[in-house]
């Protein structure tokens, strides 16, 4: 029993220089390396190797790298895959080449829906979980009319769509939406449209710096003073840190992990902080978890051969600092609890990186789409 080609190699493919670089970026590579070290550095008697690359959020660059990794560099699994367009592209290649991919960085539910792969897994979070978490919370607070600022690609559409569904199901209305290209710098004219729409909630169906910029500029144009509410549908610790508590306070957001949750998470975070100088968000930790689980599966399957590992991954329960009590659906979705968080006021933050109050824990079953209803044709 051994690795088929004498090595086990994991590729971390993510955005390391663009608008989503803070989400994961180089720090995620560290998280992956930590996972390998914590696992003992070897599996089935061969060393585990991590390679990484920056895909600049461009699906074509990502595909080229992925192809080359799978074809010529004996990479066994590719992980993280920030941003949905990239993840969809790479998952398609992985499926065709019968290789494993575990997505922790992208959000679209298509990955485990119509684009699902027997060898593809979706690990940290998804748009449905965000819609349920953040969208749901705001609707409950009375935000029953929405206007969306949507990133113009798969992720944005799916986040807007699922939040819309949720809002409508709760009796609310959506009064309009504008789409903006990835990495937009000036949101002012979009914000003016949102402002004059009169919606109670302006839903930011975007991510990363796009969201941060939109929030900052909304403040500049006095949008929150005007009584409208901003919903950052995808926002993590990293962005809160970048934006600062002053500007971010009061935002409601949903993450799959919070470092200050319990002792176990704090211990992990401390180690991570020592290596990267920042506290982990759900994507860093998700990547750690994905690498760990993959190695466990290889170990258990006794081979790095794709079919066997994929089978094991589907069957084996997840239990680590990230995915406590997680299970993997037949569509590849890892189902675990999510946390509804609120950003603290600057005065309430007791230590560096102490940013959130945990408002609620959303059970995995609620947060994620039932695999049977996901539209994935692998689920009978």
């Amino acid at each position: 029993q051994s690795a088929t080609d004498g090595k086990v190699k994991i590729g971390i493919l993510n955005d390391q220089s663009g608008v989503y670089a803070d989400f994961g970026g180089k720090s995620s590579v560290e998280a992956a390396k930590m996972a390998v070290e914590d696992f003992g550095g070897k599996v089935l008697g061969v060393p585990v190797e991590i390679v990484d690359a920056d895909h600049q959020n461009k699906p074509d660059i990502a595909s080229n790298i992925a192809r080359q990794w799978y074809d010529t560099e004996q990479v066994d699994a590719i992980m993280e895959l920030t941003t949905s367009s990239v993840a969809l592209a790479v998952q398609a290649i992985a499926k065709e080449k019968k290789k494993i991919d575990i997505v922790t960085g992208a959000a679209t539910t298509d990955l485990t829906g119509k684009a699902c792969s027997p060898y593809g897994f979706h690990w940290a979070y998804d748009t449905h979980a965000l819609a349920v978490g953040t969208g749901g919370a705001l609707v409950k607070q009375g935000g029953d009319s929405w206007f969306f600022l949507t990133a113009d690609y798969a992720f944005g559409y799916s986040l807007e769509q699922q939040t819309t569904d949720y809002v409508k199901a709760s009796g609310g209305t959506v009064v309009g939406a504008v789409r903006h290209p990835l990495s937009t710098q000036d949101f002012s004219s979009f914000l003016l449209q949102a402002q004059s729409s009169g919606a109670k909630v302006i839903g930011l169906a975007n991510a990363g710096l796009d969201t941060s910029n939109a929030i900052k500029q909304a403040a500049e144009f006095g949008i929150t003073q005007g009584g409208q509410h901003l919903a950052a549908l995808l926002f993590t610790l990293a962005e809160v840190h970048g934006l600062g508590l002053e500007a971010a306070q009061g935002l409601t957001l949903t993450e799959g992990f919070y470092w200050n949750r319990d002792d176990e998470s704090r211990a992990f975070a401390k180690k991570f902080f020592a290596r990267t100088g920042k506290m982990p968000n759900m994507i860093h930790t998700g990547t750690y978890s994905a690498v760990t689980q993959y190695l466990k599966a290889v170990q258990k399957a006794g081979t790095d051969e794709t079919e066997a590992v994929a089978k094991t991954l589907h069957e084996m329960p997840v239990d680590d600092v990230f995915g406590r009590g997680g299970t993997v659906g037949a569509n590849g979705r890892m189902i675990h609890d999510m946390y509804l968080l609120q950003v603290k006021k600057p005065a309430d933050s007791k230590e560096p990186w102490d940013y959130f109050n945990v408002l609620a824990t959303i059970p995995g079953k609620e947060a994620y789409i039932d695999p049977a209803k996901s539209g994935c044709d692998l689920v009978k």
Binding site: Y20, S188, L209, E220, F221
Partner: protein
């Protein structure tokens, strides 16, 4: 709410104002391009990079030297202009005798290298730059909430554009510049050190771009690619205006900014391309541009 063509007045005026703000940047940048092109016959593709550098220098001054917005507003253009002067002396100068396309290609390469370097050093995500305290906040104009800083941008860009225009139209140095634009050799025969004039002109153009960059820093993120997105639109502005006159460059900049703002109200899908569409129409009617003279 008052409506105009089915559009709330508030939205219309708001977008117009935003168009004017964008127009301020277009005007500053196309002005710099026009000055450089007029004398050096170089289409300065690095103009976007110099705009970005202006913003970055301001950011770096703040981060590493604690120098704030106001001094940066002067310092950054001077620094970038100085860098431009060096580039002109060392490289651009060698290209004057060749097809002007080489100047375009050289500055294109320069832009790539500079932007690449900053992306390498700072990532493409961009750095925040705070609005100076004195200009923070906003004023409620009734139809919209105008951030004071953006109002300042419009005013200061108008002042700088007019100032530059006066410099060129009303001073001795400006006369040299205009004369050299027409016939550099003759001006040199008249004892003017035209090579130095060329250097100064390039520095001035680069400095103007950098100035626009500093102005932009608090509005947008300070990001390595902020200029490359801008420069192509500015090229279109320049084609529409034609390279004939300084005033033409300024006016076209503002007008197209506003046109873009209006499109955002009436047909937002086309807002990104409206300037290019206008360019195509102008080309059909007046190939030399609105203010251009036939080459």
């Amino acid at each position: 709410m008052t409506m105009i063509f089915g559009i709330p007045l508030q939205a219309l005026l708001g977008q117009l104002l935003i168009g004017l703000i964008n127009g301020s940047f277009y005007a500053l940048l196309s002005l710099g391009l026009a000055i450089i092109f007029g004398l050096l016959r170089v289409i300065n593709f690095a103009h976007g990079a110099q705009y970005m550098l202006g913003a970055f220098v301001a950011y770096l001054l703040l981060t590493y030297a604690g120098i704030g917005y106001w001094p940066s507003l002067i310092l950054a253009p001077v620094i970038v202009g100085f860098g431009g002067a060096i580039i002109e002396r060392l490289f651009l100068r060698r290209l004057y005798d060749l097809d002007p396309l080489y100047g375009l290609l050289f500055t294109f390469g320069l832009a790539l290298a500079v932007e690449g370097t900053f992306r390498y050093l700072y990532g493409s995500s961009g750095q925040p730059y705070a609005t100076p305290a004195a200009l923070a906040g906003g004023a409620n104009l009734g139809f919209m909430f105008l951030p004071i800083y953006r109002g300042w941008v419009v005013v200061v860009s108008l002042v700088v554009c007019l100032g530059t225009w006066l410099l060129i139209e009303k001073t001795k140095l400006g006369a040299y510049l205009r004369a050299a634009t027409e016939n550099a050799v003759l001006v040199q025969v008249f004892g003017v050190n035209v090579p130095v004039l060329l250097t100064l002109t390039y520095a001035l153009g680069a400095g103007l771009a950098a100035f626009a960059g500093v102005l932009a820093a608090p509005i947008y993120q300070v990001s390595p690619l902020m200029g490359s997105n801008m420069i192509i639109v500015v090229f279109a502005v320049v084609v529409v205006g034609g390279m004939g006159s300084i005033m033409g460059a300024i006016i076209t900049g503002y007008v197209l900014g506003i046109a873009e703002g209006l499109t955002k109200v009436f047909y937002p899908e086309a807002s990104n391309i409206v300037i290019f569409v206008i360019m195509a129409i102008v080309l059909l009617i007046r190939p030399a541009g609105l203010f251009g003279r036939d080459a």
